[in-house]
Amino acid sequence: MSLVERLVDELKPLGGKPAEFKRMISVTIDSEHIVEAVKNAKTAGFEMISDIFGIDYLNYPQHQGKRFSVAYNLYSISANERIFIRVNINEGEVLPTITHLWNGASFMEREVYDMFGIEFDGHPDLRKLITPEDLDGHPHRKDFPIGETPTLFNEGRFIDPAAFRSGLTGQDAGLSGHQGGMRKGYRTDANEEA
């Protein structure tokens, strides 16, 4: 039995639900048992934490279940195996931190907080990591706009990339809606400027 299979069996009594896709094994677990699960993984032989990241399933087609999913990407150097331990949570729920197990989880959890707004209880320094201080909101959420601005040229010409792309893919016009959602053209008010 490989290390991953042993760990999956260990996690089943905690409520872990395994899944496999293209030889990648993931175990979904509740937020109450996540610290214990990760600690079991560490003692079982997964010495290295590779990544902690979040996914926002708001616009995922036919998605049932909670909105966010936080995945812990653990790797075992000695056994050369990888496992993803996932937690599904809704907005406003708080996850416990694992910085006491690995100090390296500190930046990773801060990034999840910065990008998704998921708080980690017990983190020594939970604040924004890479976005500016005056940016309100959490950029990687699906309801945060990408912030595309139309490109304005000197003589009044403009190009709106969001509208252009929506024309290709058939999705809604971009959030800029500049000049009535036209892909490109000439600004009506620029003639006075020039």
Partner: protein
């Protein structure tokens, strides 16, 4: 005025007496530990002489000793992951190499491998070999910048010009292949965009025969230099446990004694066919991290030579028309080819739903793209596991209780690239 000695005073002299009473000086105080000292908070701002980009570090100093160090990042945040959600999979190749611009092919390879895993694409052998050659050449170029700027940060200028001279030769090779020196758009999902030109293999062979002498030149310039050795030996020691605790990967981890290299552990793109070693060191200091990359240069040369010898003529794109553009001649005769071309060029392909992750070894550590696909033409979520962001956390244990000047050497040895850190 006579000079008073500590024994002239009956009671102990306090700092307040020194500040308020005339004639009582600092030298009258019983011992220096009476002094109330505060830590000085120094901001090494985003714009600074070190050439490692916009990294801001806030240090608390006690004299010259670093007591607390907090890296503040985000000054180059570009929103790559969110932007890639609004571009098709094929357009993602233009974004991936701008993250770690020094090892652009490494990011391109990691992204393209993830998409190909999602699609179950068959990449032809020739494409895999060319990818390996370009990846290793880029690793050499990245390590050359590491040496040049690392030694430049420590005050020596000459090595910078030497390494940049070699790097110009490597960039000439890249220009021969894809037309750009940096920020390439050469890899495609399913292979390469076009075959390598004639004369490329000869030029690469010429380069790798002349390169080991240059490496000896570099080693002769700095490895035995007293100043370099004193500044780097025993400095910033990261033990094996600390390195694993902080999530360090890459050459810095191998310098701390853990022989983890994803090219050997989980081979991709044909790396299992090549014979190379994974050098490790158990010292864990800055000197070991520098020397580790010298040895990696030699290993990369070995891989390039083996890949060049194994290169055989063949296709460079996955023949599946749903992924790769059909060749020009087919468009003149076949209607299906025109339809495939139209769909690919305007909308792009639609991978099946799922989530994949392929770990690769970049010049800085473990690099992987976690792709979540919802069946559309654009990825639903792209999460890049960047090595530099996680390696930067090791700055703290390496610098604590060291001198401030060692902090510069530590930052240089951990080799952060801010485009990688801030994504």
């Amino acid at each position: 005025m006579t000079v008073k000695k500590p024994s002239d005073f009956g009671a102990e002299v306090t700092a307040e007496q020194v500040m308020t009473q005339p004639g009582v000086t600092v030298t009258d105080m019983p011992s220096a530990s009476e002094f109330e000292t505060k830590l000085m908070r120094l901001n090494v701002g985003p714009q600074h002489p070190s050439t490692h980009g916009v990294l801001r570090v806030v240090v608390d100093l006690d004299g010259e000793t670093v007591k607390r160090i907090v890296p503040q990042i985000g000054y180059l945040h570009t929103g790559f992951e969110k932007t890639m959600e609004h571009r098709t999979y094929q357009q993602g190749v233009t974004y991936s190499n701008r993250m770690d611009y020094l090892h652009g092919f490494g990011h391109d390879l990691a992204y393209v491998l993830s998409v190909e895993k999602l699609l179950d694409a068959n990449v032809p052998v020739r494409a895999q070999q060319v990818r390996v050659i370009l990846n290793e050449l880029n690793r050499i170029a990245s390590h050359l910048v590491f040496f040049g700027t690392g030694i430049l940060d420590m005050g020596a200028l000459t090595l910078f010009f030497y390494t940049m001279r070699e790097r110009e030769q490597i960039l000439d090779l890249f220009e021969m292949v894809c037309g750009v020196r940096m920020n390439y758009g050469y890899f495609r999902v399913g292979g390469l965009s076009r075959d390598i030109p004639e004369g490329f293999t000869d030029a690469v062979r010429q380069f790798i025969t002349g390169f080991p002498k240059m490496v000896d030149q570099y080693v002769g310039l700095f490895a035995k230099n007293d100043i370099f050795v004193n500044r780097t030996k025993g400095v910033g020691v990261l033990s094996r446990e600390t390195a694993l605790d902080y999530g360090l990967t890459g050459p810095s981890l191998r310098a701390s004694g853990v022989g983890l290299d994803f090219r050997k552990a989980q081979p991709y793109s044909g790396y299992e066919n090549y014979d190379f070693d994974v050098p490790t060191s158990d010292k864990g200091d800055v000197h070991a991290r520098f020397m580790m990359r010298i040895e990696e240069l030699a290993e990369s040369l070995k891989i390039i030579e083996q890949a060049l010898d194994a290169l055989e003529p063949g296709p460079v794109k996955d023949p599946d028309r749903r992924i790769s553009l059909p060749p020009r001649q087919e468009l003149e005769t076949s209607m299906e080819a025109v339809i495939f071309h139209f769909k690919l060029a305007t909308e792009g392909f639609h991978p099946p739903r799922g989530e994949v992750y392929v770990p690769t070894e970049s010049a800085r550590g473990e690099l992987g793209y976690y792709l979540v696909s919802d069946g559309g033409s654009m990825p639903y979520r792209v999460k890049v596991r960047v090595p530099s962001l996680i390696n930067l956390q090791s700055l703290e244990p390496a610098c604590i209780d060291g001198v401030f000047a060692d902090m510069v050497a530590n930052i240089a040895s951990l080799d952060p690239v801010m485009g990688d850190v801030d994504k």
